[in-house]
């Protein structure tokens, strides 16, 4: 890769790192996700900036050009990150469903308990009104 290419990616990488830091600082990006992006950017910068790595990588992956190897790695990374975020979304929506269901269940179960309490109170009131009832005798 040419010096200009390496410099371009490194400058872009530093820009991304600053963006990530700013997003963390302003609490718009969770530190767990920031770590993933930080590692990816640093990994890419190291890959293109260290000549032996850039020479070995395409050979290991069967690519002719270093740029192809980097693109393939980037594609794999994006694919994995998308699956990871789909899993995160699934977990969040599952939690949301659980909360909605729990709210509905709680409300009805509380109504059931109130109704049961009312029935017990009514039965108690009836018993005290009619003490001659043999069923109310101990």
């Amino acid at each position: 890769m040419s010096i200009q290419g390496i410099l371009f990616i490194d400058v872009l990488g530093v820009g991304f790192i600053l963006l990530i830091l700013n997003l963390v600082r302003t609490k718009r990006l969770h530190i767990a996700y920031a770590t993933i992006w930080f590692l990816a950017v640093v990994g890419l910068m190291m890959m293109v900036s260290i000549p032996p790595v850039l020479a070995i990588l395409p050979r290991m992956m069967g690519a002719i050009y270093p740029a192809s190897a980097v693109s393939l790695l980037a594609f794999v990374f994006i694919f994995l990150v998308l699956i990871f975020f789909s899993m995160q979304l699934t977990a969040i929506s599952a939690r949301q469903v659980e909360i909605i269901q729990a709210l509905a269940l709680r409300e009805l179960l509380a109504q059931d308990t109130d109704l049961q309490d009312l029935r017990i109170k009514l039965a108690g009131a009836k018993e005290s009104e009619n003490p001659a009832n043999p069923l109310s005798q101990p």
């Binding site: 469903v97 909605i100 269901q101 709210l103 509905a104 269940l105 009805l108 109504q111 059931d112």
Partner: protein, 239 residues
């Protein structure tokens, strides 16, 4: 039936049909408890149910058929019922078929009875795409389970709580073929009994053009996941 029974009815915008369904259920199954899962209806369904004095599980966000039904099943399990009947609020399932469904459950000794539109040579007029899907899934049960279930997408079922416990925790279930496969592979017995289904008179069917493609793929994925799950559980117990 000497066991405690509850009818679980998911409902979403069913103001035109829910009253008739409830009145009919009160007439034909007066001793059976009911709970209606109001899946965030935007019409008067909730008010009608309140006025009728019906037990309602009020979902504050629309969860869709499967998860609304799941809420009702969870309620039934929490309250300790022995048998759960599931039916729709759109008037397609006839309340008078509830007692025969329960009788079939008792007589067969099965864990789940499906109110079927297609068993015993019955026919039901459905659009071609849906009929093809139903046939495909029906034959799939024959191949996978060795027992042909003619109506895999029926929402009219009677299920014992022992079987219900095995499927209620599923996250993305529609309680169709995937739950049938899961139950059969777990050793539960399933039978079908013929029921008549009425044409929908009001409201909109949940089947859209997108669902023609989405439903079969989703169902196949869920079925494969159920098979994989059963295999892994079996292997775990085998160790």
């Amino acid at each position: 039936m000497d066991q405690s029974v509850i009818i679980v009815i998911p409902a979403h915008n069913e103001e035109h049909t829910v009253t008739a369904v409830i009145h009919e259920l009160r007439r034909v199954a007066p001793t059976v408890d009911r709970v209606i899962v109001n899946d965030c209806s935007s019409d008067a369904t909730g008010e009608i149910l309140d006025a009728l004095g019906e037990k309602q599980l009020k979902l504050i966000h629309n969860l869709g058929y499967g998860q609304a039904l799941q809420t009702g099943l969870k309620y039934a399990l929490l309250k300790g019922y022995d048998v759960i009947v599931t039916m729709d609020a759109d008037g397609q399932h006839r309340p008078q078929d509830v007692p025969p469904l329960l009788a079939a459950l008792q007589e067969s000794g099965a864990d789940m009875v499906i109110g079927s539109r297609f068993c015993n040579g019955q026919t039901y007029d459905t659009p071609m795409d849906r009929r093809l899907g139903q046939l495909l899934f029906s034959y799939l049960t024959q191949v996978l389970l060795g027992q042909r279930i003619y109506d895999t997408s029926s929402g009219f079922k009677a299920i014992r709580t022992t079987a219900c416990q095995a499927i209620v925790s599923g996250s993305f279930m529609d309680f169709h073929i995937e739950s049938i496969v899961q139950l059969k592979l777990a050793g539960f017995q399933i039978v079908e009994t013929p029921v008549k289904v009425q044409e929908r008179t009001h409201g909109r069917s949940m089947h859209s053009i997108a669902s023609v493609f989405q439903y079969p793929i989703k169902t196949i994925l869920l079925t494969l996941a159920a098979i994989m799950d059963a295999y892994l559980v079996k292997r775990q117990h085998g160790r």
